[in-house]
Protein backbone atom coordinates (compact mmCIF):
# COMPACT_ATOMS: atom_id res chain seq x y z
CA UNK A 1 0.00 0.00 0.00
CA UNK A 2 2.84 2.38 0.93
CA UNK A 3 6.45 1.97 -0.06
CA UNK A 4 9.34 4.38 0.21
CA UNK A 5 12.67 3.88 -1.56
CA UNK A 6 15.71 5.74 -0.23
CA UNK A 7 13.67 8.80 0.66
CA UNK A 8 15.68 11.80 1.83
CA UNK A 9 14.28 15.18 2.75
CA UNK A 10 16.64 18.10 3.22
CA UNK A 11 15.42 21.56 4.16
CA UNK A 12 17.31 24.62 2.93
CA UNK A 13 20.19 22.38 1.76
CA UNK A 14 21.41 21.84 5.31
CA UNK A 15 18.75 20.47 7.69
CA UNK A 16 18.31 16.75 7.10
CA UNK A 17 14.79 15.77 8.21
CA UNK A 18 14.76 12.28 6.70
CA UNK A 19 17.68 10.26 5.43
CA UNK A 20 17.51 7.23 3.18
CA UNK A 21 14.19 5.92 4.48
CA UNK A 22 13.09 2.69 2.80
CA UNK A 23 10.06 1.00 4.27
CA UNK A 24 7.06 -0.92 3.04
CA UNK A 25 3.61 -1.02 4.61
CA UNK A 26 1.08 -3.63 3.49
CA UNK A 27 -2.61 -3.09 3.02
CA UNK A 28 -4.55 -3.11 6.32
CA UNK A 29 -1.39 -2.94 8.43
CA UNK A 30 -1.28 -0.82 11.59
CA UNK A 31 2.06 0.93 11.99
CA UNK A 32 3.39 3.21 14.72
CA UNK A 33 6.07 5.70 13.73
CA UNK A 34 7.88 6.66 16.92
CA UNK A 35 10.83 8.81 17.88
CA UNK A 36 11.61 12.01 19.77
CA UNK A 37 10.57 15.45 18.57
CA UNK A 38 12.50 16.41 15.46
CA UNK A 39 13.18 12.82 14.48
CA UNK A 40 11.29 13.22 11.20
CA UNK A 41 7.86 11.73 12.04
CA UNK A 42 5.89 14.74 10.88
CA UNK A 43 7.99 15.14 7.75
CA UNK A 44 7.23 11.51 6.94
CA UNK A 45 3.47 12.18 7.25
CA UNK A 46 3.74 15.37 5.17
CA UNK A 47 5.56 13.53 2.41
CA UNK A 48 2.86 10.84 2.27
CA UNK A 49 0.22 13.60 1.94
CA UNK A 50 2.34 15.24 -0.73
CA UNK A 51 2.39 18.46 1.25
CA UNK A 52 6.08 18.31 0.42
CA UNK A 53 8.24 16.58 -2.15
CA UNK A 54 11.16 14.39 -1.15
CA UNK A 55 14.61 15.74 -2.02
CA UNK A 56 15.56 12.27 -3.24
CA UNK A 57 13.90 8.89 -3.49
CA UNK A 58 10.52 7.50 -4.45
CA UNK A 59 7.28 7.23 -2.53
CA UNK A 60 4.64 4.80 -3.77
CA UNK A 61 1.06 5.11 -2.55
CA UNK A 62 -1.32 2.46 -3.89
CA UNK A 63 1.27 1.59 -6.53
CA UNK A 64 1.85 5.12 -7.81
CA UNK A 65 4.99 7.18 -7.32
CA UNK A 66 3.80 10.40 -5.74
CA UNK A 67 7.24 12.02 -5.53
CA UNK A 68 6.67 13.83 -8.80
CA UNK A 69 2.89 13.87 -8.95
CA UNK A 70 1.56 16.81 -10.94
CA UNK A 71 -0.11 19.45 -8.82
CA UNK A 72 -3.64 18.94 -10.12
CA UNK A 73 -3.57 15.24 -9.16
CA UNK A 74 -2.69 15.90 -5.52
CA UNK A 75 -6.33 16.42 -4.41
CA UNK A 76 -7.22 12.99 -5.80
CA UNK A 77 -4.33 11.40 -3.90
CA UNK A 78 -5.60 13.00 -0.69
CA UNK A 79 -9.11 11.67 -1.20
CA UNK A 80 -7.61 8.24 -0.58
CA UNK A 81 -5.92 9.31 2.62
CA UNK A 82 -7.74 10.28 5.81
CA UNK A 83 -5.84 12.44 8.29
CA UNK A 84 -6.15 13.03 12.03
CA UNK A 85 -4.08 15.58 13.93
CA UNK A 86 -3.20 16.39 17.49
CA UNK A 87 -5.17 19.67 17.35
CA UNK A 88 -8.33 18.13 15.77
CA UNK A 89 -8.58 20.91 13.13
CA UNK A 90 -12.35 21.28 13.46
CA UNK A 91 -14.17 24.39 12.26
CA UNK A 92 -15.63 26.15 15.31
CA UNK A 93 -18.56 27.74 13.48
CA UNK A 94 -19.79 24.47 12.04
CA UNK A 95 -21.72 21.74 13.89
CA UNK A 96 -20.42 18.20 14.27
CA UNK A 97 -22.57 17.14 11.31
CA UNK A 98 -21.36 20.07 9.18
CA UNK A 99 -17.72 19.49 10.08
CA UNK A 100 -17.88 15.91 8.85
CA UNK A 101 -20.17 16.76 5.94
CA UNK A 102 -17.75 19.52 4.86
CA UNK A 103 -15.15 16.90 3.91
CA UNK A 104 -17.64 15.34 1.50
CA UNK A 105 -19.13 18.61 0.32
CA UNK A 106 -15.82 20.08 -0.85
CA UNK A 107 -14.96 17.03 -2.93
CA UNK A 108 -18.29 17.39 -4.67
CA UNK A 109 -20.37 14.62 -3.09
CA UNK A 110 -24.11 15.11 -3.59
CA UNK A 111 -26.32 16.16 -0.70
CA UNK A 112 -28.11 12.84 -0.37
CA UNK A 113 -24.81 11.01 0.05
CA UNK A 114 -23.78 13.47 2.77
CA UNK A 115 -27.12 13.16 4.56
CA UNK A 116 -26.83 9.39 4.59
CA UNK A 117 -23.14 8.85 5.32
CA UNK A 118 -22.46 11.51 7.96
CA UNK A 119 -24.96 10.24 10.58
CA UNK A 120 -23.77 6.69 9.85
CA UNK A 121 -20.12 7.49 10.53
CA UNK A 122 -20.94 9.63 13.59
CA UNK A 123 -22.94 6.71 14.98
CA UNK A 124 -19.86 4.53 14.39
CA UNK A 125 -17.60 6.82 16.42
CA UNK A 126 -20.20 7.06 19.20
CA UNK A 127 -21.44 10.59 18.55
CA UNK A 128 -24.83 9.70 17.09
CA UNK A 129 -26.52 11.97 19.61
CA UNK A 130 -24.35 15.05 19.09
CA UNK A 131 -24.89 15.81 15.42
CA UNK A 132 -25.97 19.39 16.03
CA UNK A 133 -23.49 20.32 18.74
CA UNK A 134 -20.62 22.72 18.08
CA UNK A 135 -17.02 21.61 18.71
CA UNK A 136 -16.66 23.87 21.79
CA UNK A 137 -19.54 21.98 23.42
CA UNK A 138 -17.62 18.71 23.20
CA UNK A 139 -14.81 17.23 25.30
CA UNK A 140 -11.34 16.80 23.75
CA UNK A 141 -11.96 13.10 23.20
CA UNK A 142 -15.27 13.78 21.49
CA UNK A 143 -13.68 16.42 19.28
CA UNK A 144 -11.01 13.94 18.23
CA UNK A 145 -13.77 11.43 17.39
CA UNK A 146 -15.35 14.01 15.12
CA UNK A 147 -11.98 14.48 13.47
CA UNK A 148 -11.59 10.69 13.05
CA UNK A 149 -15.11 10.55 11.60
CA UNK A 150 -14.20 13.28 9.14
CA UNK A 151 -11.02 11.42 8.14
CA UNK A 152 -12.90 8.18 7.61
CA UNK A 153 -16.22 9.36 6.14
CA UNK A 154 -14.94 9.03 2.56
CA UNK A 155 -13.70 5.46 3.27
CA UNK A 156 -10.02 6.15 2.48
CA UNK A 157 -7.51 3.39 1.82
CA UNK A 158 -5.09 4.90 4.30
CA UNK A 159 -5.53 6.74 7.60
CA UNK A 160 -2.64 8.94 8.74
CA UNK A 161 -2.69 10.06 12.36
CA UNK A 162 -0.13 12.58 13.61
CA UNK A 163 -0.04 12.47 17.43
CA UNK A 164 -3.81 11.91 17.63
CA UNK A 165 -3.68 11.38 21.40
CA UNK A 166 -1.22 14.21 22.07
CA UNK A 167 -3.88 16.47 23.65
CA UNK A 168 -5.87 13.76 25.41
CA UNK A 169 -5.71 12.15 28.85
CA UNK A 170 -4.77 8.43 29.01
CA UNK A 171 -8.33 7.10 29.36
CA UNK A 172 -9.60 9.13 26.44
CA UNK A 173 -6.52 8.17 24.42
CA UNK A 174 -7.42 4.51 24.86
CA UNK A 175 -10.91 5.23 23.49
CA UNK A 176 -9.43 6.88 20.42
CA UNK A 177 -7.03 3.96 19.94
CA UNK A 178 -9.95 1.51 20.06
CA UNK A 179 -11.61 3.56 17.37
CA UNK A 180 -8.50 3.56 15.16
CA UNK A 181 -8.18 -0.18 15.74
CA UNK A 182 -11.78 -0.69 14.59
CA UNK A 183 -11.12 1.36 11.48
CA UNK A 184 -7.97 -0.69 10.84
CA UNK A 185 -10.03 -3.89 11.05
CA UNK A 186 -12.22 -2.70 8.17
CA UNK A 187 -9.11 -3.05 5.98
CA UNK A 188 -7.82 0.51 6.20
CA UNK A 189 -4.08 0.92 6.51
CA UNK A 190 -3.31 3.04 9.59
CA UNK A 191 -0.05 4.90 10.10
CA UNK A 192 0.22 6.72 13.40
CA UNK A 193 3.05 9.00 14.46
CA UNK A 194 3.27 9.23 18.25
CA UNK A 195 5.50 9.45 21.26
CA UNK A 196 2.87 8.05 23.60
CA UNK A 197 4.78 5.01 24.87
CA UNK A 198 1.91 3.58 26.94
CA UNK A 199 -0.25 3.27 23.86
CA UNK A 200 2.45 1.75 21.68
CA UNK A 201 3.30 -0.76 24.38
CA UNK A 202 -0.35 -1.71 24.90
CA UNK A 203 -1.19 -2.17 21.21
CA UNK A 204 1.77 -4.38 20.28
CA UNK A 205 1.76 -3.48 16.59
CA UNK A 206 4.53 -2.84 14.11
CA UNK A 207 6.82 -0.04 15.27
CA UNK A 208 9.12 2.00 13.03
CA UNK A 209 11.49 4.14 15.07
CA UNK A 210 13.10 7.24 13.61
CA UNK A 211 16.04 9.07 15.07
CA UNK A 212 17.55 12.13 13.42
CA UNK A 213 15.77 11.22 10.22
CA UNK A 214 17.00 7.64 10.00
CA UNK A 215 15.09 4.42 10.56
CA UNK A 216 16.79 2.89 13.59
CA UNK A 217 14.26 0.12 14.22
CA UNK A 218 11.47 -1.62 12.32
CA UNK A 219 9.88 -4.25 14.48
CA UNK A 220 6.68 -6.26 14.18
CA UNK A 221 4.61 -6.30 17.38
CA UNK A 222 7.02 -3.83 18.98
CA UNK A 223 7.05 -1.61 22.02
CA UNK A 224 8.05 2.02 22.36
CA UNK A 225 11.23 1.70 24.47
CA UNK A 226 14.45 2.80 22.77
CA UNK A 227 16.54 -0.10 21.67
CA UNK A 228 14.16 -2.59 23.27
Amino acid sequence: MIKTEHVTKVYKDTVVALEDVSIEVQKSEFVFVVGPSGSGKSTFIRLLLREEEPSRGKIFVAGKNIANLSAWKIPYLRRNIGTVFQDFKLLPDKTVFENVGFALEVIGKPRHVIDRRVPEILELVGLGGKLNNYPEELSGGEQQRVSVARAFVNRPLILLADEPTGNLDPTTSVEIMKLLDRINRTGTTVIMATHDNAIVDAMRRRVIELDEGKVVRDQARGVYGYGA
Binding site: A71, P75, R78, T83, K89, L91, A103, V106, I107, G108
Partner: protein, 293 residues
Protein backbone atom coordinates in the same frame (compact mmCIF):
# COMPACT_ATOMS: atom_id res chain seq x y z
CA UNK B 1 -22.73 21.86 -10.74
CA UNK B 2 -26.14 22.78 -9.29
CA UNK B 3 -25.36 21.14 -5.98
CA UNK B 4 -22.12 23.10 -5.79
CA UNK B 5 -23.55 26.46 -6.76
CA UNK B 6 -25.41 26.51 -3.42
CA UNK B 7 -22.10 26.19 -1.62
CA UNK B 8 -20.42 28.84 -3.77
CA UNK B 9 -23.27 31.33 -3.37
CA UNK B 10 -23.32 30.90 0.41
CA UNK B 11 -19.58 31.34 0.71
CA UNK B 12 -19.55 34.38 -1.59
CA UNK B 13 -22.34 36.15 0.30
CA UNK B 14 -20.64 35.41 3.61
CA UNK B 15 -17.30 36.76 2.43
CA UNK B 16 -18.85 39.97 1.11
CA UNK B 17 -20.58 40.61 4.44
CA UNK B 18 -17.54 39.76 6.51
CA UNK B 19 -15.30 42.47 5.07
CA UNK B 20 -17.99 45.06 4.53
CA UNK B 21 -15.69 48.09 4.72
CA UNK B 22 -12.94 46.84 2.42
CA UNK B 23 -15.58 45.50 0.07
CA UNK B 24 -17.22 48.92 0.02
CA UNK B 25 -13.91 50.60 -0.78
CA UNK B 26 -13.25 48.15 -3.61
CA UNK B 27 -16.73 48.54 -5.08
CA UNK B 28 -16.68 52.33 -4.92
CA UNK B 29 -13.31 52.49 -6.64
CA UNK B 30 -14.57 50.23 -9.39
CA UNK B 31 -17.65 52.42 -9.58
CA UNK B 32 -15.74 55.70 -9.91
CA UNK B 33 -13.32 54.37 -12.50
CA UNK B 34 -16.07 52.82 -14.62
CA UNK B 35 -18.20 55.95 -14.27
CA UNK B 36 -15.31 58.03 -15.63
CA UNK B 37 -14.71 55.50 -18.38
CA UNK B 38 -18.40 55.56 -19.32
CA UNK B 39 -18.39 59.36 -19.24
CA UNK B 40 -15.39 59.47 -21.56
CA UNK B 41 -17.05 57.04 -23.96
CA UNK B 42 -20.22 59.13 -24.03
CA UNK B 43 -18.40 62.45 -24.50
CA UNK B 44 -16.67 60.81 -27.41
CA UNK B 45 -20.02 59.73 -28.88
CA UNK B 46 -21.48 63.20 -28.33
CA UNK B 47 -18.57 64.81 -30.12
CA UNK B 48 -18.86 62.36 -32.96
CA UNK B 49 -22.56 63.12 -33.21
CA UNK B 50 -21.89 66.86 -33.40
CA UNK B 51 -19.02 66.45 -35.83
CA UNK B 52 -21.16 64.40 -38.17
CA UNK B 53 -23.88 67.01 -38.12
CA UNK B 54 -21.61 69.95 -38.64
CA UNK B 55 -19.40 68.34 -41.19
CA UNK B 56 -22.37 67.71 -43.43
CA UNK B 57 -23.22 71.39 -43.29
CA UNK B 58 -21.52 74.47 -44.60
CA UNK B 59 -17.77 74.64 -44.27
CA UNK B 60 -17.03 78.06 -45.73
CA UNK B 61 -19.27 81.11 -45.80
CA UNK B 62 -18.49 83.91 -48.25
CA UNK B 63 -20.45 86.98 -47.15
CA UNK B 64 -21.15 89.57 -49.79
CA UNK B 65 -20.93 93.33 -49.59
CA UNK B 66 -24.30 95.08 -49.35
CA UNK B 67 -23.42 97.23 -52.34
CA UNK B 68 -22.34 94.37 -54.59
CA UNK B 69 -24.10 94.45 -57.94
CA UNK B 70 -26.03 91.38 -59.20
CA UNK B 71 -23.44 90.98 -61.99
CA UNK B 72 -20.59 90.94 -59.50
CA UNK B 73 -22.46 88.42 -57.36
CA UNK B 74 -23.04 86.17 -60.34
CA UNK B 75 -19.42 86.42 -61.48
CA UNK B 76 -18.24 85.46 -58.03
CA UNK B 77 -20.60 82.48 -58.06
CA UNK B 78 -19.01 81.26 -61.30
CA UNK B 79 -15.50 81.78 -59.92
CA UNK B 80 -16.32 79.75 -56.85
CA UNK B 81 -17.84 76.85 -58.72
CA UNK B 82 -14.76 76.66 -60.95
CA UNK B 83 -12.41 76.06 -58.01
CA UNK B 84 -11.60 72.30 -57.97
CA UNK B 85 -11.51 72.11 -54.13
CA UNK B 86 -15.17 73.14 -53.99
CA UNK B 87 -17.61 70.30 -53.90
CA UNK B 88 -20.83 72.27 -53.74
CA UNK B 89 -21.84 75.90 -53.61
CA UNK B 90 -25.18 77.46 -52.77
CA UNK B 91 -26.38 81.04 -52.83
CA UNK B 92 -28.21 82.22 -49.72
CA UNK B 93 -30.28 85.37 -50.26
CA UNK B 94 -31.48 87.77 -47.56
CA UNK B 95 -34.81 85.98 -46.99
CA UNK B 96 -33.10 82.60 -46.48
CA UNK B 97 -30.50 84.14 -44.21
CA UNK B 98 -33.29 85.69 -42.12
CA UNK B 99 -35.15 82.37 -41.95
CA UNK B 100 -31.99 80.59 -40.73
CA UNK B 101 -31.36 83.36 -38.23
CA UNK B 102 -34.86 83.04 -36.82
CA UNK B 103 -34.48 79.29 -36.56
CA UNK B 104 -31.14 79.57 -34.76
CA UNK B 105 -32.43 82.10 -32.23
CA UNK B 106 -35.98 80.86 -31.87
CA UNK B 107 -35.58 80.84 -28.10
CA UNK B 108 -34.74 84.54 -28.12
CA UNK B 109 -37.73 86.30 -29.79
CA UNK B 110 -36.63 89.74 -28.58
CA UNK B 111 -33.42 89.46 -30.59
CA UNK B 112 -35.24 88.17 -33.67
CA UNK B 113 -37.73 91.04 -33.61
CA UNK B 114 -34.99 93.65 -33.49
CA UNK B 115 -33.33 92.43 -36.65
CA UNK B 116 -34.51 93.70 -40.00
CA UNK B 117 -34.61 91.02 -42.75
CA UNK B 118 -33.00 93.57 -45.09
CA UNK B 119 -30.00 93.81 -42.78
CA UNK B 120 -29.14 90.14 -43.27
CA UNK B 121 -26.14 89.60 -45.56
CA UNK B 122 -26.23 87.59 -48.75
CA UNK B 123 -23.70 84.79 -48.91
CA UNK B 124 -22.34 81.83 -50.78
CA UNK B 125 -22.34 78.65 -48.71
CA UNK B 126 -19.54 76.35 -49.80
CA UNK B 127 -18.96 72.69 -49.08
CA UNK B 128 -15.39 71.61 -49.69
CA UNK B 129 -14.03 68.35 -51.00
CA UNK B 130 -11.85 68.28 -47.85
CA UNK B 131 -12.47 70.62 -44.88
CA UNK B 132 -8.78 71.48 -44.49
CA UNK B 133 -8.74 73.22 -47.90
CA UNK B 134 -10.03 76.45 -46.39
CA UNK B 135 -6.77 78.44 -46.86
CA UNK B 136 -6.77 77.55 -50.55
CA UNK B 137 -10.26 78.99 -51.02
CA UNK B 138 -9.35 82.12 -49.12
CA UNK B 139 -6.30 82.66 -51.35
CA UNK B 140 -8.19 82.00 -54.58
CA UNK B 141 -10.98 84.42 -53.77
CA UNK B 142 -8.86 87.19 -52.23
CA UNK B 143 -9.51 90.65 -53.70
CA UNK B 144 -12.88 89.91 -55.28
CA UNK B 145 -14.92 93.18 -55.18
CA UNK B 146 -18.17 91.47 -54.14
CA UNK B 147 -16.72 89.84 -51.01
CA UNK B 148 -17.15 91.33 -47.56
CA UNK B 149 -15.80 88.46 -45.51
CA UNK B 150 -14.76 84.81 -45.86
CA UNK B 151 -15.34 82.69 -42.80
CA UNK B 152 -14.13 79.19 -41.92
CA UNK B 153 -17.26 77.79 -40.30
CA UNK B 154 -15.37 74.73 -39.08
CA UNK B 155 -12.79 76.67 -37.08
CA UNK B 156 -14.83 76.54 -33.88
CA UNK B 157 -15.56 72.86 -34.38
CA UNK B 158 -11.87 72.12 -34.84
CA UNK B 159 -11.04 73.89 -31.60
CA UNK B 160 -13.84 72.07 -29.80
CA UNK B 161 -12.63 68.75 -31.13
CA UNK B 162 -9.09 69.44 -29.97
CA UNK B 163 -10.30 70.37 -26.48
CA UNK B 164 -12.54 67.32 -26.15
CA UNK B 165 -9.76 65.07 -27.36
CA UNK B 166 -7.47 66.29 -24.59
CA UNK B 167 -10.30 66.04 -22.08
CA UNK B 168 -11.16 62.52 -23.14
CA UNK B 169 -7.54 61.36 -22.96
CA UNK B 170 -7.25 62.85 -19.49
CA UNK B 171 -10.44 61.22 -18.24
CA UNK B 172 -9.44 57.85 -19.65
CA UNK B 173 -6.01 58.17 -18.01
CA UNK B 174 -7.64 58.91 -14.65
CA UNK B 175 -10.07 56.02 -15.18
CA UNK B 176 -7.14 53.72 -15.94
CA UNK B 177 -5.30 54.73 -12.77
CA UNK B 178 -8.50 54.25 -10.78
CA UNK B 179 -8.96 50.83 -12.34
CA UNK B 180 -5.50 49.81 -11.21
CA UNK B 181 -6.33 51.04 -7.70
CA UNK B 182 -9.60 49.11 -7.91
CA UNK B 183 -7.70 45.95 -8.83
CA UNK B 184 -5.47 46.44 -5.82
CA UNK B 185 -8.46 46.88 -3.53
CA UNK B 186 -10.28 43.87 -4.94
CA UNK B 187 -7.08 41.89 -4.50
CA UNK B 188 -7.04 43.05 -0.91
CA UNK B 189 -10.59 41.89 -0.22
CA UNK B 190 -9.67 38.53 -1.69
CA UNK B 191 -6.59 38.41 0.52
CA UNK B 192 -8.67 39.19 3.61
CA UNK B 193 -11.23 36.58 2.64
CA UNK B 194 -8.47 34.01 2.21
CA UNK B 195 -7.08 34.98 5.61
CA UNK B 196 -10.48 34.75 7.29
CA UNK B 197 -10.98 31.28 5.83
CA UNK B 198 -7.46 29.91 6.19
CA UNK B 199 -8.63 27.09 8.50
CA UNK B 200 -11.32 25.97 6.07
CA UNK B 201 -8.83 26.19 3.22
CA UNK B 202 -6.31 24.04 5.11
CA UNK B 203 -8.99 21.41 5.74
CA UNK B 204 -10.24 21.57 2.18
CA UNK B 205 -6.74 20.88 0.90
CA UNK B 206 -6.35 18.06 3.38
CA UNK B 207 -9.51 16.24 2.38
CA UNK B 208 -8.75 16.61 -1.33
CA UNK B 209 -10.80 19.56 -2.58
CA UNK B 210 -9.50 20.60 -6.00
CA UNK B 211 -7.76 23.94 -6.43
CA UNK B 212 -10.61 25.32 -8.49
CA UNK B 213 -13.15 24.31 -5.92
CA UNK B 214 -11.16 26.26 -3.33
CA UNK B 215 -10.66 29.24 -5.63
CA UNK B 216 -14.15 29.70 -7.04
CA UNK B 217 -15.72 31.41 -3.99
CA UNK B 218 -12.89 33.98 -3.92
CA UNK B 219 -13.10 34.52 -7.64
CA UNK B 220 -16.86 34.99 -7.38
CA UNK B 221 -16.46 37.41 -4.49
CA UNK B 222 -14.17 39.58 -6.62
CA UNK B 223 -16.40 39.31 -9.68
CA UNK B 224 -19.52 40.26 -7.72
CA UNK B 225 -17.68 43.36 -6.48
CA UNK B 226 -16.70 44.25 -10.03
CA UNK B 227 -20.23 43.69 -11.25
CA UNK B 228 -21.80 45.84 -8.50
CA UNK B 229 -19.32 48.61 -9.33
CA UNK B 230 -20.22 48.35 -13.02
CA UNK B 231 -23.97 48.39 -12.38
CA UNK B 232 -23.58 51.41 -10.09
CA UNK B 233 -21.60 53.21 -12.81
CA UNK B 234 -24.36 52.50 -15.34
CA UNK B 235 -27.03 53.79 -12.95
CA UNK B 236 -24.99 56.93 -12.27
CA UNK B 237 -24.62 57.57 -15.98
CA UNK B 238 -28.38 57.31 -16.47
CA UNK B 239 -28.83 59.66 -13.53
CA UNK B 240 -26.49 62.15 -15.23
CA UNK B 241 -28.56 61.87 -18.39
CA UNK B 242 -31.78 62.73 -16.56
CA UNK B 243 -30.23 65.45 -14.44
CA UNK B 244 -28.00 67.22 -16.95
CA UNK B 245 -28.44 66.13 -20.54
CA UNK B 246 -32.23 65.98 -20.72
CA UNK B 247 -32.74 69.54 -19.41
CA UNK B 248 -30.16 70.83 -21.91
CA UNK B 249 -31.77 69.14 -24.89
CA UNK B 250 -32.77 71.83 -27.41
CA UNK B 251 -31.48 74.63 -25.19
CA UNK B 252 -28.09 75.16 -26.78
CA UNK B 253 -28.32 76.41 -30.35
CA UNK B 254 -25.07 75.04 -31.69
CA UNK B 255 -25.66 71.57 -30.16
CA UNK B 256 -28.79 70.49 -31.98
CA UNK B 257 -28.66 66.81 -31.00
CA UNK B 258 -27.62 65.10 -27.81
CA UNK B 259 -26.76 61.52 -26.99
CA UNK B 260 -29.75 59.61 -25.75
CA UNK B 261 -30.71 56.23 -24.24
CA UNK B 262 -29.50 54.11 -27.22
CA UNK B 263 -25.99 55.58 -26.97
CA UNK B 264 -25.95 54.99 -23.22
CA UNK B 265 -27.26 51.43 -23.62
CA UNK B 266 -24.23 50.66 -25.79
CA UNK B 267 -21.95 51.43 -22.84
CA UNK B 268 -23.86 49.15 -20.43
CA UNK B 269 -22.28 45.83 -21.48
CA UNK B 270 -18.89 47.54 -21.85
CA UNK B 271 -18.90 48.93 -18.32
CA UNK B 272 -20.35 45.89 -16.56
CA UNK B 273 -18.15 43.56 -18.61
CA UNK B 274 -15.06 45.63 -17.83
CA UNK B 275 -15.96 45.62 -14.13
CA UNK B 276 -16.32 41.85 -14.01
CA UNK B 277 -13.23 41.26 -16.11
CA UNK B 278 -10.83 43.44 -14.13
CA UNK B 279 -12.23 42.00 -10.90
CA UNK B 280 -11.65 38.45 -12.14
CA UNK B 281 -8.08 39.28 -13.15
CA UNK B 282 -7.44 41.03 -9.83
CA UNK B 283 -8.83 38.07 -7.87
CA UNK B 284 -6.78 35.54 -9.79
CA UNK B 285 -3.61 37.59 -9.33
CA UNK B 286 -4.32 37.96 -5.61
CA UNK B 287 -4.89 34.21 -5.28
CA UNK B 288 -1.59 33.46 -6.95
CA UNK B 289 0.07 35.52 -4.25
CA UNK B 290 -1.97 34.68 -1.17
CA UNK B 291 -3.55 31.31 -1.78
CA UNK B 292 -1.06 28.53 -2.29
CA UNK B 293 -3.03 25.58 -3.40
Amino acid sequence: MARRSGYFLRETALALRRNALVTFAAISTVFISLFLLGGALLVERQVRLMTGEWASKVEVSVFLRDDASPEEVEALGRRISEIPEVEEVQFEDRAEAYANFRELFRDNPALVENVDPEAMPQSYRIKLVAPEEFPVIRARLAGDPAIDQIRDEQALLKKLLAVTRVLRTGVIAVAAIMLIAAMGLIGNTVRMAVFARRKEIAIMKLVGATNWFIRVPFLMEGMVEGMIGGVAAVLAIFAMKFLFIDPLRGQIAFVPSWIDTPEILVTVPILIGAGILIAAVASLLAMRRFLEV
